[in-house]
C-alpha cells in the first residue's frame, strides 16, 4: 500500500511546518495530523514525513516508536483508553478495564492495546490521564469520560455505533 497524502493533509502539514523555524520540529505534529486522517502511521507515511521535513526516515521512525499514542498498526474504530495509574487504580480502574475486556472478549491481563476481532474496539490501559480527582477516567478516541462506573461504561460502549 503506498501512502497518498490528500491536498488537505498537504496543506495542513505545510501550515504546521510554518510554525517552526526548523522543519524537524514539526515532525510530531505532522505525525498527529497523519494519524488523525488515517488512524495509524504506516512506514510509507514515515517516509513521506521524512521527505517533507528533509529528514532521514529513521529520524521519524525513532519518534514514532517512542510515543505510545502514535500507532504503527491500524486500530479499532473506537479506541478505549483506561487510565491505570494510582489514583484511578484506587478508584477502580482495574475493574473497569476488566469489565471492558470481559464484555468484548479480550484478555483482561494484557495491558497493551488489544483490538476486537471485528475491528470495532481497541482497549488498552494507559498511564495517567491527568484527571485523578474524578477517578476512574477513560477516553474513547478523543472524548474524555470521568468517574466511569460500570453502568456508565456500558452506556459509553452502547453509544459506539
Amino acid at each position: 500500500m503506498s501512502f497518498q497524502a490528500t491536498p488537505q493533509l498537504e496543506a495542513e502539514v505545510n501550515e504546521l511546518i510554518s510554525h517552526y523555524p526548523v522543519k524537524r520540529a514539526a515532525s510530531l505534529m505532522v505525525l498527529h495530523a497523519i494519524q488523525e486522517q488515517f488512524g495509524w502511521i504506516s512506514q510509507e507515511a514515515v517516509q513521506w514525513t521524512a521527505k517533507k521535513l528533509d529528514l532521514q526516515p529513521i529520524n521519524v521512525f525513532e519518534i514514532l516508536t517512542f510515543y505510545p499514542m502514535l500507532r504503527q498498526e491500524p486500530q479499532g474504530k473506537y479506541q478505549i483508553k483506561v487510565c491505570r495509574t494510582l489514583s484511578c487504580a484506587l478508584g477502580g480502574a482495574y475493574e473497569l478495564h476488566h469489565h471492558f475486556c470481559a464484555k468484548l472478549g479480550l484478555d483482561a491481563h494484557k495491558h497493551g492495546p488489544q483490538t476486537t476481532s471485528d475491528g470495532k474496539f481497541t482497549v488498552e490501559f494507559v498511564e495517567c490521564l491527568a484527571s485523578c480527582g474524578t477517578a476512574p477516567v477513560m477516553m474513547v478516541g478523543e472524548k474524555f469520560y470521568e468517574g466511569v462506573s460500570h453502568a456508565k461504561a456500558d452506556e459509553i460502549m452502547g453509544g459506539c455505533k
Binding site: Q43, N59, F61
Partner: protein, 581 residues
Amino acid sequence: MSAAATTENKPAAPAIEKIKVKVDGREIEVPRLIADWSGKLTPTTMIQACELAKTEVPHYCWHPKLPVVGNCRMCLVEFGTPALGPDRKPVLNPDGTPKIAKSPRPAISCATPVSPGMEIYTKTPAVKQMREGVLESLLINHPLDCPICDQAGECKLQEYSVDYGQSASRFVEAKVHKPKAVDLGPRIMLDAERCILCTRCIRFTRDIAGDDALGIINRGSYNTIATFPGAPFDNNYTLNTVDVCPVGALTSKDFRFQMRAWFLKETKSVCTSCATGCNILIGSREEKIYRYTPRDNDAVNASWMCDAGRLNYKWIGRADRLQDVWVRGQKSSWPAAIRELADKLKQAPAGSVAIIASARQTNEELWLLAKLKARLGALSDAIPREGESDKLLVSADRNPNTNGARLTGICFTEMGINLVKIADGIASGKIKTLIVFGENIVKRAVAHDKLRERETISEVVDEHGITAELLGKLDALIVSDILPNETTRLAHFVLPGAAPAEKRGTFTSGKGRVQKFMKAVEAPGVARAEWEFLQELVHHVTGQNNGLTVESLFNQMAREVAAFNGLTWQALGDTGVTVQI
C-alpha cells in the same frame, strides 16, 4: 626541494592557558581548552584531565572522537571546587590552602568542565559504588553470551566487570529479550540484547560518516538500535561502528565467528588501498590474516578507516599466489635468477631497458629501482590508479605510494606519460628489456595504432599501447608480482614478491606523510620482499651496497633523496613524519 620535515602539518596553535587541578590528590596542570571530537577548542573536561593525569576513568559512551552524550553514567566521579566566602573570595584552610567544597552530587566526568583549583576524586567508596551500580544495571539484561560473542576478549563490559562486577548476580527476574543476529546491513550484524545503548554507533555514522542511518527505536528498557525497516546500513564506513561499539552488539560479518580476538597478533601497518595511508593494525594468527582495524593517527585518519580498505586483505591469502621463481618457463632459484639477471642487465646497452614500476611498492623498493634506472639509462614510469574521493578518508588516487614514486624519480608529476614512449621504444626495437614490478601492464593496453587517435593525456594514462603482441618483441620481460596475471604469464623471468603485510617498508602518502609498516605474516613459498632481492640485484649490477636491512636502506635513501633528507627509520615512529612534496 626543501628538506624540512615536520611531524605536524598544522600551524602551531596559539598558547592555551593552563589551569591547575587535583586528581585524587595529585596536582596537575591541564590546558583550559582542549580540542574536542571535531577539533574545535572546548573547555577541558574532567575525563580529559584524568587522562592527562594518567588516571583511568571507566566509560562506555564517551569516545574522544565523538560528540559527548553522557548517557552511560559509568564515568561518574566526585569533585570539589574551592569554596567561596560571602565576599566571593576563596575561603582558606588554617594552613593557608584553599578550602574545597565537595559537591554533594557526583558529576559525569565526560561532560563536566574543569575549573581552576578543582579537585576530582575517582577512587572514593562512593565512586566505586556508583560504578558497581551502573555496571550491574548494564549487566542485568545483558545476555552474558560471551562464549559466542566476537567481542569477548576486547569487551569493555568484560573489562570493567573484573574491576567493578559482582561474582554472582542477584538478579532473579526474567531478562528483557531483544532481537538477536539482526542483519543491519551488508557488513554489519546487530545483537540488540548485548547493546548497552551508548549510541556511539549512531553518533559515528551521523556526525563522522554523515549517513544518518541508525537510530534508537522503542522506549525505556526496550530501546533498541535499528535502521529504518528496509533501509540497510550501508556506507563505506559502517565497520567503524564495530570498532567503536564497546560491547559485542555490532559485529563485522567479515570477522564474525572467524577467530577469537585474543589469538590475534596485532601488527602496526598502513592501508594500501589509496593514497590516504590510514594507519592500521593487522590481526593475524599463524600466518593468516583475519582482519584490519584502524589505528589512531590524528594526522592521517583519526580513529577511522573505510570499509573498502579494511576488507582489502583477502587476496593476500589466495592459493594461486606466485610462490616460485620462474626463468623462461622453468622453475628456478633466487641465486640463479639474480645472477643471470645481473649479467644480462650489466651488458645491456644504455637506453635498451625500460622499467615500469608500481606506486604500490615501497619507497625503498622504488628507490632501488631508480638506482637501476640510473645505471641503465632506462625510461621508467608507474601506472596511475584513479577513483572517486569522498569527504572523509578515501583519496581519488588509489595508489598508496604515488609520492614515493615521484620523489624517488621513477615517474614524473603526471604519472603514466612515459608509457607511450616505452611502447614506442619496444615497437621500434630500441627497448629490448622491460622490467615490470607489481603491475599487469597488458590489462590496460589498447592497440598501438588506436592509441594515437587519443588526444588528451588523461586518456593516454588510462590506456597505453603495451599490448601482449608488443611484449612478444622483447628479448627479456622481467616481472615481479604477487598474483599471477597476463603479464606474469608472458614474462621470461618471474620473481615472486611479497604483499605489504608480508614485509617492512615505508610509503609516502598523498599528503606527503612517510609512514612505515611492519611485517605481519610470512610470504608463501620462496616469495621474498622486493627490496630484498632488488638490493641484491642492484649490488650485482652497480656494485653499490646499500645495506642488508630495510632500516639501512631507508636511512641511505633518506641521505640521497632530497625530500627525505634528515629522516631516519627510527625517527618515523609509529605514526610517521610529513615531508614536503
